[in-house]
């Protein structure tokens, strides 16, 4: 029973750590499926987190924070879109630039406004996305096994978490069951064919980039207005890159993306839990080994040793119309 309780705790924190990954990973999925490679997820996440916390601080409203975070993130996305789609730039260079500018700019402005080394003031509880208790969570919790699962894993999350989980089937449906999704996937594989059919490659890619901005902005807002109650410089701490790894690991598909992000979140929770623990026979747990597992797994997968991760064919390739 004790191990079960511990499992519930670790899995619960795994979900919370996985949510920003899910949102950012789906964001990357939309962008890369349309042929725009996005290694700037990290920077957009930071932008969303900073704008979200700043707006929530000034307005006292979590929802206005969310709006600001998403708009800021879309703005950054559009810069990447302009460089990648209209300027036919190297998309890796553009993403790198966005990561650098966002990393510096958020800390700089935060420091200029509040003079706390870039940290924003602590948000009051009223300006946060608070946990929602689903009906009967309290009373149902007494039921063995299913009760704690319902009470601690399914109930008690904030609205962004539920939205993130709902986004997975939504993304799947939009990409695989709608005309827009079909075209979007096609533009990531063979833009010339889409162009020949009289559909705007540019329009499709720009819409994908905007969707990407919305989702990754949400992941940033989640970090600063739901998980923590403030923004702190570099607070995304590589989550944008883990999401990128998860995207590769999931081979650019929505459901596997959910599973991978939960796995990576769970590994993160496990490594935090195991900090300083001594296992019999092994000695102190090398926490770094668990923390690096997502990166190592991704490299192994990319190397083609466990299946093959093939990116969308036209991803990273600017489309040149006139010939």
């Amino acid at each position: 029973m004790e191990t079960f309780a511990a499992f519930i705790v670790i899995f619960g924190s795994g979900i919370r750590l996985g949510v920003p990954l899910i949102l950012a990973c789906l964001a990357g999925l939309w962008s890369e499926r349309s042929g725009v490679v996005d290694i700037g997820l990290e920077g957009k996440m930071l932008t969303g987190a900073f704008a979200g916390a700043t707006a929530a601080t000034f307005t006292g409203s979590a929802w206005l924070g969310l709006l600001a975070g998403v708009i800021a993130s879309i703005g950054v996305s559009l810069i990447h879109g302009y460089a990648s789609i209209d300027q036919r730039a190297n998309q890796i260079v553009s993403g790198t630039a966005i990561n650098m500018v966002a990393d510096g700019m958020t800390a700089l402005i935060g420091n200029a406004i509040w003079s706390q080394g870039g940290r924003t003031p602590e948000l009051p509880e009223t300006a946060l996305f608070n946990p929602i208790n689903l009906p009967f969570a309290q009373s149902f919790g007494a039921v063995p096994i299913i009760g704690p699962i319902y009470q601690h894993l399914i109930s008690g999350h904030d609205i962004i978490t539920y939205f993130a989980f709902a986004l997975v089937p939504l993304t799947y449906w939009a990409l695989y069951r709608t005309r827009f999704g079909l075209r979007l996937r096609a533009v990531g594989e063979n833009p010339a064919a889409v162009d020949t059919a009289g559909i705007s490659v540019r329009g499709l890619r720009y819409s994908a980039v905007v969707i990407c901005g919305v989702l990754v902005g949400l992941s940033g807002v989640y970090l600063s207005v739901a998980q923590a109650a403030y923004f702190q410089p570099h607070m995304s701490a590589g989550k944008g890159f883990i999401a990128l790894a998860a995207l590769v690991f999931a081979k650019w598909r929505p459901w596997p993306a959910l599973a991978t992000c939960l796995l990576f979140g769970f590994l993160d929770a496990l490594s935090i839990r195991m900090q300083g623990m001594v296992l019999p026979g092994i000695g102190p747990v090398p926490v770094q080994a668990i923390q690096t597992l997502p990166y190592i797994l991704t490299v192994v997968l990319l190397a083609g040793f466990i299946g093959k991760a093939t990116p969308p064919k036209a991803s990273g390739v600017p489309y040149v119309k006139e010939r």
Binding site: A97, M100, M105, L108, N111, A112, G118, A245, T292
Partner: protein, 369 residues
């Protein structure tokens, strides 16, 4: 969509366009400074005085520049082969391990032979850490951008583990190794110049700078004056044509990433052997990423890289002074400038090409009288 562009005159291509791009980056940086309520002109004045106003500033500027020359060259050599190595940060970090292990375990070597061995060890470790992504790109078609990003995190975890749990001196709080023996230390210029009667203030500026200049010359020689360099450029320009010409892109990819990792190791030489004299956590401090900005701004040419590295050295040294004088303009401003340089000199490098071409065309095609 629009008429194809006429080729620009060479001077515009080599000097004018890059200059406009960098000026745009700095103009926007000026606007950012204005937006947070400071005077950009005063900021520039403090920055320049801090960077080159006295010999101490110059020493620090050149010390930073040394690191940037190495990381810039490491990124640039990969550019020539059409590869984007984001992993210079991790490669330099692991190279520090090589230098430290040599200094800690080969202390019996006489005189400065230890320094030479430590430098070689740094290059070897850097190259070895770059070899895996290079091999995976060449042989297994794994995208080097993704693998090098992953390897940065792997390097960080590996070095964290080694420094905290293995290499740390017993009973010490800080996660760092023991001090290196004197033979493993790259001499600083104030020590070297003192016997000659030249007074140079105490700065971390050390002989690695000369090594960096030699490396820059070596890269120039390699890329434009050797068969290997020709092969690297061919693979970068057109891998299919390279195969037709009898060049193996896989071999070139691996060789180039090895060279890149070894160059990244130069940064560890500068910081670990030249200044810290012990291995410390996170000594790379993001300088591997500065290399991307330096390589783009220097147009992947060693001369451009040395100049861009000195400019970034000024930004880092002057930026520290600026943050001290004007707390509102924290050192994050330098990261913003760096990002804007990558954006304008890299991602948006062709944005001003069309307006400039139109302008130049209008001037040259004015009707004859």
């Amino acid at each position: 969509m629009s008429a194809p562009l006429k080729p620009l005159p060479a001077w515009a291509d080599v000097a004018l366009i890059p200059l406009i791009n960098v000026v745009a980056a700095f103009l926007i940086s000026g606007l950012v400074v204005t937006a947070i309520g400071e005077n950009p002109f005063e900021a520039v004045r403090i920055l320049i005085v801090g960077a080159i106003g006295d010999l101490e500033g110059v020493g620090f500027t050149l010390y930073y520049a040394t690191s940037f020359i190495f990381t810039g060259l490491a990124v640039a050599i990969c550019f020539h082969a059409g590869l984007f190595n984001i992993g210079v940060e991790g490669q330099a970090y692991v190279a520090g391990l090589g230098a430290a292990l040599a200094c800690l375990y080969l202390g019996f070597l006489p005189g400065y032979s230890l320094l030479v061995v430590a430098i070689l060890a740094a290059a070897l470790f850097g190259a070895a850490f770059a070899a895996i992504p290079g091999y995976l790109q060449a042989k297994r078609d794994s995208h080097i951008v993704i693998t090098t990003i992953m390897f940065n995190y792997i390097a960080s975890a590996l070095m964290g583990y080694l420094l905290v749990d293995v290499l740390r001196v017993r009973g010490q709080m800080n996660a760092e190794t023991a001090q290196f023996p004197p033979g493993g230390i790259a001499p600083q210029f104030h020590e070297l110049l003192a016997p000659l009667g030249v007074h140079w203030p105490v700065t971390p500026f050390n002989v690695s700078f000369l090594l960096a200049l030699a490396a820059a010359f070596g890269v120039w020689l390699l890329i434009w004056r050797t068969r290997l360099g020709y092969e690297i450029r061919t693979v970068g320009a057109n891998p299919t044509a390279a195969i037709y010409g009898g060049i193996s892109p896989a071999r070139i990819t691996i060789v180039t990433t090895l060279l890149s990792g070894a160059l990244a190791g130069g940064m560890a030489v500068n910081v670990i052997l030249g200044e810290e004299h012990r291995l410390i956590l996170e000594f790379t401090a993001g300088f591997g990423f500065v290399g991307i900005a330096v390589a783009l701004m220097g147009r992947a040419h060693p001369v451009g890289i040395v100049l861009a590295a000195i400019l970034f050295g000024m930004l880092y040294q002057g930026g520290a002074e600026l943050a001290f004088d004007k707390p509102k303009i924290s050192r994050d401003m330098i990261v913003v400038i760096q990002g804007l340089v990558v954006l304008f000199a890299g991602a948006l490098e062709h944005m001003f090409r069309r307006p400039v071409a139109t302008l130049l065309a209008r001037r040259t095609t004015s009707p004859p009288i």
